[in-house]
């Protein structure tokens, strides 16, 4: 691909201020997302995927801050833009959906108004015009009777409906990039599928690129063309969705793939229970020396405990950060 990527993250480090001491909560983060592409970021809680997303949209707040690296949006560095210039991008060109549809909407403001704000902020519309557009936006996320629903308050809507409202807000201005941070984690399973399908349809129709963040590898691989796996503040592997299932290169990714429940696989492999990855994610303040996954890794050797592995390119395209991959 020769075209300038939509967004390019280059060696990003995110610092956490722990009582005056700066600790890298995530570092060496590099990836690119092309226009209209769907890209997934997978990892356990606390691996740094959500703060990476917040860094992209410029919403890191104390005690978190960008320590090093560059974020380029359409080839232009945006991490050092003035707050006012960042706000022009935020919501308009880069939008975000959050995990908690229960609390992510203002409880004392009608949902229509919360959508309409986008048109007032970024498109210079009057409130009257913005309210009309909000009804259209609500209709586009397949909310029945949108002209009545705009007057509803969040508490009057179900979790799925609220997440539809969030999607309507995020896509209101037709952004180039939609960041979805665990958009379906808090929802019922049946509703999850509807929301994912809705997001996929709308973004495909508008050519919006998606950065999907989840702990659910199966979900991400299903939605995204490429997937990056994060562990303890680092991207440990990046491959196409197909390859990551067929040939997971990093032992951690293998663990994730192996821990996915699949119908019929028990019988086929004669296994009595799901595989798990032993141990827990290390705390940000005490990442292990060498490879950060070494205390939990089944293939660990001496070199893993002392030398941090560099990024290796994979033959099939993609990259991995492991001494013993393949």
């Amino acid at each position: 691909m020769t075209a300038v990527p939509l967004i390019e993250v280059d060696d990003l480090r995110i610092d956490l201020d722990v009582q005056g001491r700066r600790v890298a909560a995530a570092d060496g983060i590099s990836f690119r997302i092309d226009r209209g592409e769907t890209f997934g970021l997978v990892g356990e809680s606390g691996c740094g995927k959500s703060i990476t997303a917040l860094a992209l949209i410029g919403l890191l707040r104390h005690p978190l801050s960008i320590g090093a690296g560059r974020i380029r949006f359409e080839g232009r560095e945006i991490q050092n833009l003035s707050p006012a210039r960042q706000r022009e991008l935020r919501g308009d060109r880069i939008a975000m959906i959050f995990q908690e549809p229960m609390t992510a909407l203002n409880p004392v403001s009608p949902v229509g108004r919360q959508i309409a704000e986008m048109f007032v902020l970024h498109k210079g519309k009057s409130w009257r015009e913005a309210n009309r557009l909000a009804i259209e936006a609500l209709a586009s996320v397949r909310v029945p009777a949108p002209e009545r629903r705009v007057k509803d308050f969040p508490y009057q809507l179900s979790g799925g409906m609220r997440q539809r409202v969030m999607i309507a807000i995020a896509l209101a201005c037709g952004p180039d990039l939609l960041i979805a941070d665990e958009p379906t984690t808090a929802l019922d399973v049946t509703v999850q599928a509807e929301i994912i399908e809705l997001m996929r349809d709308l973004c495909a129709a508008k050519g919006t690129a998606v950065l999907m963040i989840s702990h659910d590898l199966g979900l991400v691989a299903n939605v995204c063309r490429r997937v990056a796996v994060m562990y303890a503040g680092r991207i440990v592997e990046e491959q196409s969705s197909d390859d990551i299932f067929r040939n997971p290169a990093h032992p951690y990714t293998r663990g994730l793939v192996g821990s996915l429940p699949r119908l019929g696989s028990r019988a086929a492999h004669g296994q009595s229970r799901l595989q798990e990855i032993k141990g827990v994610v290390p705390a940000i303040t005490s990442f292990p020396h060498g490879c950060r996954f070494n205390p939990r890794c089944v293939r660990v050797t001496d070199v893993c405990r002392t030398v941090e592995p560099a990024v290796d390119l994979l033959d099939a395209g993609g990259l991995v950060r492991c001494h013993h991959h393949g």
Binding site: I57, R87, R90, E100, T103, A104, P107, V108, S109, E117
Partner: protein, 311 residues
């Protein structure tokens, strides 16, 4: 909404009855009466016959339950009884004094809201900043300073030293006379409001929906105006309501200090003289005021926060 308003107003009635009973019982068990109070005033012992006649005339010799029954049945017709001291109907005494007290309370609350709420917002926008520190130190001082002391200081500064304002009294009922007592009464609710507002805004600023608002590309000022303000208002309103009600009680000290002819100073004088009907009347008005304010606050909640439904 209307049904709720009516129901909420009716809830006031049993509380009033309980208060009436309580005051009545209280005054029947504490020692002293209008008769002994008169002799304590330095006029020397009252002739035993005169004392006996007074007791009888005022109905003080009847058993408590008889007096209570006759009081309540009169009260039901809007008759608060007759003052033991002045032989004036309590209703007309209260009517004369209600306006100065209301003036004082509303002026104090206005001062508290106009100064306290913006101060809290400003303090919350830069927590730990200079304005925050200064206003919070001011708020703590305002809360902990006794009213009679603060009142004396203000009198000394603005009336005696600077001569800008009259030191005490109601005068012609003009604004100049109102300022010092109102500020004295308003400082502690102002301080409390500043602190509550600051805490409410700080808490709401960490809410998920504020992050959503920021992700929309709003400036911090817009975030506060469009999303934080209304949410904070629910918490602020609670404080305003509670303070409003208790100001009636706090006004007693301020009215006495500034010789303000309100219900508070009437209450103090009547208690000292064991003028039971006047005390009853003054306390009932105070309680009624408290209850009405609280009922109004409950109604306002429904207007501000759509999640609150009374059914």
């Amino acid at each position: 909404m209307l049904a709720f308003a009516i129901r909420r107003s009716l809830q006031i009635v049993p509380t009033i009855l309980a208060v009436v009973l309580l005051i009545f019982v209280l005054f029947s068990v504490i020692p002293g009466s209008i008769v002994s109070a008169l002799s304590d005033e330095g006029r020397g012992a009252i002739d035993a016959q005169v004392a006996e006649r007074m007791q009888k005339e005022l109905g003080l010799n009847d058993p408590v339950h008889v007096r209570f029954a006759s009081y309540v049945s009169k009260l039901a017709t809007g008759d608060f009884g007759t003052s033991f001291r002045t032989r004036e109907p309590v209703t007309s005494m209260l009517a004369k004094r209600a306006w100065p007290t209301l003036q004082l309370i509303f002026a104090a609350m206005l001062f508290a809201i106009v100064v306290g709420v913006p101060l809290g917002f400003i303090a919350a926008l830069k927590p730990g900043g200079l304005i925050d520190m200064a206003s919070m130190i001011g708020a703590v001082s305002g809360l902990s300073m006794p009213k009679f002391w603060l009142g004396l200081l203000l009198m000394y500064l603005f009336a005696l030293t600077l001569g800008w304002l009259p030191s005490f009294g109601y005068g012609d009922g003009g604004l100049m006379y109102l300022i010092l007592p109102a500020v004295t009464l308003g400082v502690s609710p102002m301080a409390l409001l500043a602190r509550t507002t600051r805490a409410a805004v700080l808490e709401i600023m960490t809410a998920d929906f504020v992050r959503t608002a920021r992700s929309k590309g709003m400036s911090e000022l817009r975030v506060v105006k469009w999303h934080v303000m209304r949410n904070a208002l629910v918490l602020i309103l609670t404080t305003i309501g509670l303070q409003f009600g208790s100001l009636m009680g706090q006004a007693v000290v301020v009215e006495k200090l500034f010789s303000w002819p309100g219900i508070g100073s009437l209450l103090v004088d009547s208690v000292l003289q064991r003028d039971i009907p006047a005390v009853q009347g003054a306390i009932l008005v105070a309680v009624l005021f408290f209850l009405i304010v609280n009922a109004l606050v409950d109604l306002l909640y429904v207007v501000i926060d759509p999640r609150i439904k009374y059914s």
